[in-house]
Symmetry: C2
Subunit: 442 residues, 2 copies
């Protein structure tokens, strides 16, 4: 009997826990879910006899060590900033750790200790980071093996809503992930490589300098650059590349509307606006507009040289930014107010399905020939519980746990899934679960 | 014999020290200049028998206390963040303190102690803050005394170059103050009141939402909003005002060119660019431009929808942003690189003269009549040493010291010059020195 401890029973844990419970009888696993909320954990475990709940609060050092000490492998979905603490306990207790979070410096420094203790600390093994690394490396290694020299790599991923969800919603977007991160997205300078040159895009240009992406069967999307694409040149061993861009995908038209909020400064988190109790959403929004005659809609149109019937204006209006409805907050930063206003219409309803879209484009040279490979992965949520986000974040972790417990992962130390021995078996099983890239060659 | 201790012998101390030395024989003063640099202090003192140098380093607590303890009044031109330390010693030693810096919370908390010790801690007594407060309050109190209700107040000040200085310079601007502050200007959200509504302008809108200002005899200027205009509603006792805006003045055309640097993200101070040794200024600038065909100038023109001969492009080109010249730095944040490039042509030469422009506009209601008062003050530097900046920052402090030592300032505690008993005699003497507002009524 092997014990898997899952830390965190939030939204993205549902498919992970379901997979583990489903496989528990076959492999003789006990699946313990640790969370501060017993209710959240019980909802995920149901009445499955292989499942159990344990109270888990990382601030309680002794009981955290006990919970981790009783497990064979720990899968943590806790917020990334807690992972150095979790990893420290795993080191002390001699337990493997799997996460979907970026490797922090603190975690990286544990590499030698984990390795000599025979432990695997596998991180960045969710969707983004996770499936993006795995699918990219599979294609990169294949191109290299046939003698290709990769010249450019662009990779964009988005957590969206399924085409048939909420047809009235002109943004084609809802919060399927941390809403605050969505509102604050892009607030540090984006850095990437384009045609051999370093490029920087400041926040206020990010949503107007987008990349157009077509995904067969799903139409047109647009992407904005992520914070730092440059570090992936080393991660993917692409040292002679000319163009390296990672970004975030949205449905076409999202960015030009979001850009209005950015341009006006509505996503500012640097100060608090007081006394909001009796202020309307329009009144808040107007604080970011120059004074002048005409309706708010007309003034926004005029400020940004838009037609009065521009779809960007429809999106803002649909979200209630021009509305006399009260905000319903006492105070908050502009970013918090925007999040609050958006959440009124951007919260997933029980029948809503989400959609993950991932898209890679590589150009490479073989001999004198310039070739192009495009690959895309789409995943639609099965339900409001088993969202595409929960499946694509949780299943790679679940599969990695299975591989580890069945002794099919021999690599130790701090790792991310960029090695074939890690990504090949995970991608093979994801494929069997319907999560796979489609490729086109040009 | 009274002793005045002047702390800091930098650029802005020249006119202050000259005034004090000039008046020393009349009033029996000794003028001691404290600085870490004896050379800087000796340059200001010359061979004047009333002047003396003392080494002064605020980190040397004992000798700092000795220097301050030997004085009757301390005038500090040290960086604002050092003023709580200076003020603490002044409290301990029972000495008056005069500065041109904003009152920090630490200083404000010393009010009661200073007051009960019979000490005046007069701050914000330079140009901006300083003459701006004094001239504004004089007009505000006059309007109130004749029964006027002030509806709007806009106040803008700029440190510029004199019309005949550097005629080739299309920006009509050079560094006459801390260059880093010029490059970083506006990087927090501007807050002000307009027609009864709170307004916020984010950094990236600041240089496109400017206020046009005409100064009789000096032509057209443009101003951008300062960080926080709202706090001056209380400072000036204008609680029922509808519009309250404070800002910074530049010659017309400056802001649209500076806006290009802001829009592109060139003034970003959040990351370091390495390996600049062999990179040209154009190459650096191009990092902030999307790739594309054509010269840098043409690509900037196209990105911002400008004519190819737009004057904003001329300004950037004159500053060398499109030039193949090497930058001449090893590394630096974009803001540091921009400061370095600009300083090559924006440093004052020995024959250059600077210019201070301050402009106020009030609208007020008397009975049913809406009236407007415009007031402006211009001050041209006398030389590269006795700049307009040094005169307008230093002379109000010097005059305040004279008033204090001749027992014409009886107010005690932490103060700023918004009370008639403080600003009236200072403004009267500034007037006699040629520094005065001209007013127009509409």
């Amino acid at each position: 009997m092997k014990t898997i401890l899952v830390l965190g029973a939030g939204r993205s844990s549902s498919s992970l826990i379901q997979y583990l419970l489903h496989n528990a009888p076959v492999y003789g696993w006990k699946v313990v879910v640790g969370d501060v909320s017993e209710k959240a954990a019980r909802e995920k475990i149901g009445h499955n006899p292989a499942g159990a709940f344990t109270p888990f609060d990382i601030n309680h050092v002794v009981s955290s060590a006990q919970s981790i000490g009783s497990a064979d492998v720990v899968i943590s979905l806790l917020p990334a900033f807690l992972h150095p603490q979790v990893a420290k306990i795993c080191l002390d207790q001699g337990k493997h750790l799997l996460t979907a979070s970026y490797v922090s410096t603190d975690i990286q420094l544990m590499h030698e200790k984990a390795k000599s203790a025979g432990l695997l600390f596998l991180n960045e093994c969710g969707l983004d980071p996770g499936i993006d690394h795995m699918t990219a490396m599979q294609i990169i290694n294949r191109i290299k093996q046939k003698g290709g020299q990769i010249e450019s790599f662009e990779s964009l991923t988005g957590g969206l809503i399924a085409p048939r969800t909420d047809p009235e919603n002109p943004w084609r977007y809802k919060f399927t992930w941390n809403p605050r991160n969505v509102v604050m997205a892009g607030q540090s300078t984006a850095k990437y490589l384009e045609n051999g040159k370093l490029k920087y895009i400041p926040y206020h240009q990010l949503f107007s300098r987008t990349t157009r992406v077509e995904v067969p069967g799903f139409g047109v999307f647009e992407g904005y650059a992520n914070r730092d694409s440059l570090q992936y040149i080393d991660t993917y061993a692409l040292q002679n590349i000319n163009t390296m861009l990672r970004g975030t995908l949205r449905y076409e038209g999202f960015c030009s509307a979001w850009n209005i909020l950015v341009q006006l400064g509505c996503c500012d988190d640097s100060f608090i606006v007081d006394a909001l109790e009796n202020r309307s959403q329009a009144d808040f929004f107007e604080s970011f507009l120059p004074s002048g005659p005409g309706t708010i809609r007309k003034r926004v149109a005029s400020l940004f040289n838009l037609d009065d019937n521009d779809e960007a204006l429809d999106k803002l209006e649909w979200s209630g930014f021009f509305s006399d409805d009260l905000i319903g907050l006492e105070k908050g930063s502009p970013a918090q107010v925007v999040e609050h206003i958006l959440s009124k219409r951007w919260t997933l309803k029980p029948d809503d399905l989400d959609l993950i879209v991932m898209w890679h484009r590589f150009t490479y040279r073989i001999g004198n020939e310039l070739k192009e490979t495009r690959a895309s992965l789409t995943c639609t949520g099965e339900s409001a519980t088993h969202t595409a986000m929960a499946r694509t974040v949780g299943l790679p972790l679940a599969i990695a746990a299975k591989l580890l417990l069945t002794e099919k992962l021999s690599r130790r130390g701090v790792q991310i899934p960029t090695l074939p021995e890690i990504y090949e078996p995970i991608l093979a099983e994801l494929d069997s679960l319907g999560i796979r890239m489609s490729e086109q060659e040009f």
